[in-house]
Symmetry: C2
Subunit: 319 residues, 2 copies
């Protein structure tokens, strides 16, 4: 009976297609350092979106060196891995970085593209009709190939970063022209638009294609722009930020996952999606890598949502 | 009849006592520069608080060089100037600064204390029983003297800055121990507490005395802390920030003015006060100096408050 209800509810959700890196990370922060641990944009997005109990699939590539136990973490959370290509004899993408004391800036110590260098994505048949497509940070050519393979999704969300603005701007702009939502951080929005004011930057970026622009400001929250409307979701002020790695991807995963669950891509519902994304990201930074996201329970998520409401809701009666 | 109603309403408001500088400023931003114009913490606080139609008095000092027309701007807004000392043959405090391109940092080009050097404040009899006391940025000795002269006010609000933390920390700490609310910016909160996390910083500062800590984050909004509760008011994202001078004082004036008008110093009502302060500050930065505040009309204030609501209010139904 319970099982039956679950299936029934699920059929009313949208499918979520995720593209992005699945990787090894080695991270150093003022609080410590890790060996090679589970990382990658698609990993964080999928783990975050999984909290909504949706049907998602990851399009990515790994090497033979990638441990089965990491894949099980995703499979256990109902993430379809049919389009996760495993390159025989290949090595998985590796990134290593060191955060400065303020935790807002970091140096990249090492990047080994490995199997990512020649990656050509294949969207599985069963997910070509996904309603929501979340293009995580990756080469714009891979993102474009995924757009070309899907059948008229309801919403395409793009996450990218300054690295691609520096190296592949023309191609990136073509991708931007084909998406509905773009999520980037404040410095990237300024770089992409040439405008310092985020209001002006968002307007210029909307002119490039996306109807919705989400500007992530790290510990200062996130802004959602649509037409002349704005919405702001704060980041929950925390006692301790332990490791910011994956926070932006976790935000994007929460955003896309909530929209997939609720099947409502209106501006009003996107506000809620931004709040959920910010909420999930606030957990991600509390421990190294994916650790906190893997132990996160539904009850914690809901308790913190109440904190978000208390943090921002006020009562002024306007005439 | 209207007049009568007005007087009746006014008698139900708290009196607001303001201490702070009344000054000349010369400002340079990427958008232009000014000659000597009207400035000073008490000026901005009084102009901001005046929007609530309250009974306020400024305790400060000026030289004979200060134009009568500037004083009329305050008198016209019902600001009592009985305790604004005019030093015969003296020159008014002068500050000159230049903002960097990001508008978040500035260099002080010149500071001439002039009549401020020997200032000893005298609170007028009629305002010794003010319910709200707003201690604007000024030498902590002057702030302390005002605290000593008032009769058990309902709320004392302190604004200060890093300059006094560097030069008069011990005295400043004695002032902090005697106030109910402190408003400082994020860097100052970190300096005062020795904590990077603003949650931890606010807790340490509350341990120094104030029950309420407001941390101003400029374009990133403001946080209000009380016991283990937090409230966040965003700054309205603007097309153009023209001149940030006086934004923090305008915030403080709106905060104190709203509390004086509503006679309610509960945490719930302080949330509204923070929203009003942030709202007023968002106007202040749109033109040079006090220009925008002087032309601001009630209707504009209310329209922008609706924007603040739209910016932050969301509807998630939690079980």
């Amino acid at each position: 009976m319970t099982e039956c209800l679950y299936l029934q509810k699920k059929s009313r959700m949208s499918k979520l297609l995720i593209v992005g890196t699945v990787a090894f990370d080695a991270i150093e922060t003022p609080f410590g350092k890790t060996d090679k641990i589970l990382g990658g944009a698609a990993t964080y997005i999928a783990l975050s979106a999984a909290h909504f109990g949706i049907d998602s699939s990851v399009v990515s590539v790994i090497g033979e060196d990638f441990p089965e136990k990491y894949l099980d973490l995703l499979r256990d959370r109902n993430v379809n891995l049919d389009a996760l290509e495993v390159v025989k004899g290949g090595n998985t993408f590796f990134w290593s970085g060191k955060y400065h004391n303020d935790m807002n800036t970091r140096d990249t110590l090492d990047t080994q593209l490995n199997v990512l260098a020649d990656f050509s994505p294949n969207v599985p048949e069963a997910y070509k009709n996904s309603e929501i497509v979340m293009l995580g940070n990756l080469h714009p050519a891979v993102q474009m190939s995924v757009i070309d393979q899907v059948n008229n999704p309801q919403l395409i969300v793009l996450d990218t970063m300054n690295f691609w603005m520096d190296s592949e701007l023309e191609l990136l702009k073509k991708v931007i022209a084909r998406v509905d939502v773009i999520t980037i951080n404040d410095e990237e929005a300024r770089q992409l638009s040439g405008e310092y004011s985020l209001v002006k930057a968002a307007r210029k970026i909307r002119d490039m294609g996306p109807d919705y622009v989400v500007i992530k400001k790290g510990e200062h929250g996130a802004l959602l722009f649509h037409n002349e409307e704005m919405f702001f979701a704060p980041a929950l002020p925390l006692e301790e930020v332990f490791d910011p790695t994956g926070a932006g991807d976790t935000f994007a995963g929460g955003f896309a996952g909530y929209l997939a669950k609720t099947k409502d891509v209106s501006f009003g519902n996107m506000k809620n999606a931004v709040i959920y994304g910010s909420n999930l990201a606030s957990f991600c930074v509390e421990k190294f890598g994916t650790e906190r996201m893997l132990e996160l329970e539904q009850g914690e998520l809901e308790r913190r949502l109440k904190n978000f409401q208390a943090l921002t809701q006020f009562e002024i009666n306007l005439a």
